[in-house]
């Protein structure tokens, strides 16, 4: 009897979960479908769900007419560059706080967290004026610099929580066996730190890729990443739904894949370790 109930419950919860999951995912699915329609069909009422003339012409047009790859390359350089530099600065800092903590470590960590609480709009004016006077407006270097600083607290925090989980006993054991600091770092620490480093890298790539405050305000054309490129479709003249959908699909596809891999680390990274 109990088994019957369990099976029935399983059927109900499975059906409900798939239904809700599909509803939440639907706008993305609808966008991907629209990207394979002609402009006429994308706009048509009643809409066709699967039985339309499938075409990839939008993907070709998006590249030809608006140089999609230029903006994609900007996104890659800006998100990748800012994340890598942030990692280079954060790894030593997090390592030092995790393995040689002092009385001040907790205060330093919380202070770093509080810099992330600063609303970007609060410092938009000075950053814009500084960028304008030193010629950093609409440059990749400028955006890399800003996004790197903006994400640095999250990078340090994530790395810190991962490093802290590496048992110190192992380090001491290695030291007892006569390992030098260099060997300890290469043979003992690094292998244990790789999963944490990888997921920190991933989450921050995602955050930088999707960042849409500084990129919209500080770049227009030359350095414009995909966030800004997509925003250009909001102008009233030229509502090309199929092309908007194709450009959007290309813009979110890589991040969706990365994101799905990193969903577990996401919770930890975005809650600063408050929920694990």
């Amino acid at each position: 009897m109990a088994r019957m109930v369990t099976t029935r419950n399983k059927v109900i919860s499975t059906t409900a979960a798939w239904l809700v999951g599909f509803l939440i995912f639907f706008p993305i699915l609808w966008m991907v479908l629209a990207s394979f329609k002609t402009e006429l069909e994308a706009f048509a009422i009643p809409p066709s769900f699967l039985f339309f003339h499938w075409t990839t012409e939008n993907y070709v047009t998006v590249q030809e007419r608006s140089d999609y790859f230029h903006h994609a390359l900007n996104s890659i350089i800006i998100a990748g560059g800012s994340t890598l530099i942030a990692m280079l600065i954060a790894i030593p800092a997090a390592w030092s706080m995790a393995f040689s903590p002092t009385k001040r470590t907790k205060d330093v960590l919380l202070w770093m967290l509080s810099t992330k609480m600063m609303p970007p709009v609060g410092v938009l004016v000075p950053i814009y004026l500084i960028f304008r006077s030193v010629g950093l407006l609409d440059t990749r270097a400028g955006l890399i610099f800003i996004l790197c600083l903006g994400n640095l607290p999250i990078v340090i925090w994530m790395l810190f929580t991962y490093f802290k989980e590496i048992p110190k006993d192992i380090l001491e054991a290695a030291r007892m066996d006569g390992a030098t600091i260099g060997r300890e770092l290469i043979y003992v620490l690094t292998p244990m730190a790789v999963p944490g480093l990888a997921s920190t890298l991933l989450l921050n790539l995602i955050l930088a890729w999707n960042e849409a405050f500084w990129t919209l305000n500080l770049s227009t054309l030359e350095a414009a990443p995909l966030t800004v490129f997509i925003a250009s479709y909001s102008s009233p003249e030229g509502l090309f739904w199929a092309k908007l959908s194709a450009a959007s699909t290309l813009a979110i596809a890589p991040i969706l894949v990365l994101g799905w891999f990193s969903q577990r680390q996401l919770v930890r990274g975005l809650t600063f370790g408050a929920v694990k």
Binding site: T6, K10, A17, M117, W241, Q263
Partner: protein, 290 residues
Amino acid sequence: MATQQTQLLARTLLTPAVALLFIWMIVPLALTIYFATLHYNLLDPGSESFVGLENFRYFLTDPAFLASLQNTLVLVGSVLAITIIFGVPLALLLDQQVVGLSIVRLMVIAPFFVMPTVSALVWKNLLMHPVSGLFAWIAHLFGLPAIDWFNDAPLFSVILIISWQWLPFATLILLTALQSLDEEQKEAAEMDGASAISTFIYITLPHLARPITVVILIETIFLLTVFAEIFVTTGGGPGLQTTNIAFLIYSQALIQYDVGSASAGGLVAVVLANIVAFFLVRIVGRNLEA
């Protein structure tokens, strides 16, 4: 001796990060405070003069400020309510035995990874367009009049889009918390004859209190400065109906080039965010000791 060396090394390793963040925090903020006391318009260069608190008086008594403050609060409050009210049952559902759970979880989490400009434009056009949008067609199927979303209910439309983006975040955090709930405790309650409802009220809900607080605080930090979604859909309009504080400051700085009052507005935003940050930092700090 060795420990002293290690400590020196540790401090050296920490310095670049601390120095950078310190400069990042202090220099722009100091400049914002400085600009906020100036009459400074980029269209009128050379006329900068000290005006004391005049910009604050102007910004705070500007009817646009009250409207945008109200919009900010409505937006933050509504999105929080929607994501928690739908997030809790959704997390509970995903915590059940579900066939193909990993795929369902992928579908649920997906909106969080979509860049804000994409989700805003896809919703605005493909779904909410009053003539050719999917919602208009569904309304037509049921014989209802189509809603002109961004004219009839602009702020609600923006809220809807942002809630869709943040529901996955709330759900994922609550689900993670639920999975750490001790199964034995629940089983014991069931053995004692507790109904599903009282198990939920007396065991599950108290366990969720902390993650819910975390969700509220973190979402608030991000939602206080929502920008891109408004920028690409409504541009703050019609009128001021979807202008929040972040958008108001942006338009004063980069459209009207009024550096002085935009800076004053920026400081108001900093103060608002700090009230939230104060509580968040305390919660995280408590966790650090445990």
